[in-house]
Symmetry: C7
Subunit: 76 residues, 7 copies
């Protein structure tokens, strides 16, 4: 699917698994529920990954957008 | 409950226990009273947790939104 | 008293003692005179606390809001 | 091609390979899909480069604009 | 005098000595000439204080507001 | 030529060589193509200079304005 | 001359020597050509001073306002 703006990558990922890497390098993987233009995100069944290993299971999680380094959206 | 935007996760958490992790890694757990779009929050019966251990009991607490890394809202 | 937005916690604290923790961890305790939406604050009879010990008595003090980590308002 | 504003350098790079250097010094190379005025970017077939060596293959990737130090756009 | 907003503490300090503590901990003391809503300040006969000792005499000085940690205004 | 605002220094530098020093101290020298009010810049035939020595040749380069410490524009 | 707002201190300094101290502590001295509300500045015949010693002569220089800690304007 062709994207016309960056947040389209999140629109097509709703209900799908995404991976969010924070500025600290820690990653959070979960099913994307919703997001806004600040990149605030809610993901569900979230897992915290440190160097690829699951450290914590966090359930539903509201992420503050300014923490985000990049997001790997749904891979079409 | 389906969320249509990230702050809905806080709307459904009013009066419920939430866990707020700061950018420093320190956590604050308490009953959510109110919040705004900057993620400024008031929680009550707040406890400060350092590596999972209660360090301070803080009562009612107004958190500046820019300190927030993520929030674990009410787990539906 | 029920709060409808975070700054209500400061409204009900005017003339009362509040404790302000800075991002550095240093705390300032004093009687809240006034505040604005940036969390700029004026407190009076301010004391600086480092690890709970009084370090300086500062009288009236204007705090820049972006320094604030959290505020313990009047405990109803 | 003459550019009349900085983001024109990205407009002419759509569908082309670009290299994005982050403030950390880490680089991401991929085919530019879309961008916005904050320099939020989506690149595809992204590779992470650390000191010039491929470290991770990331597929489609949404980059938060505030992480960007500079971008090497399509070299006309 | 009762204050109705934080910057009133500066209004009543014009022409009076104020002490400005920077985020670095360094202090500047001088006679307040003028200020704006960003807490940009001009003080005159400014002295730089490091741990309470005068390090430099700086004359008239324009301070960028984002450097300010707190200000001790005129003590009524 | 007299300047009436800071960005005039860039207007008169279009097509000329400029030197951009980043907050990190690293410098980029190239021919200025275009800029905007955020100090986002595109320079061409860019060279990266570390302590005055050429480290990388980067071709056309889009610089994010918030990285800039200062710019040495065209020296009239 | 009485100032009614902080930037008046720069208005009366046009064509005069000013000293700009950066957040890093490095200083730049030169003749003020122009400025804007962000404290972006152009100074001419600029010299970089490290601990009071001239390190570099930079000619005309455009300074990004967010680098500024304070400015010593024209001393009336």
């Amino acid at each position: 699917m062709e994207l016309t703006k960056p947040l389209d990558a999140l629109n097509i990922s709703k209900g799908q698994s995404v991976l969010v890497e924070f500025k600290t390098g820690v990653q959070y993987q979960g099913r994307l529920e919703t997001f806004d233009i600040h990149l605030n995100l809610v993901i569900d069944d979230a897992q915290e990954l440190v160097e690829g290993n699951v450290k914590r299971k966090l359930g539903r999680m509201l992420i503050r957008g300014d923490q985000v380094k990049f997001i790997l959206p749904f891979q079409k």
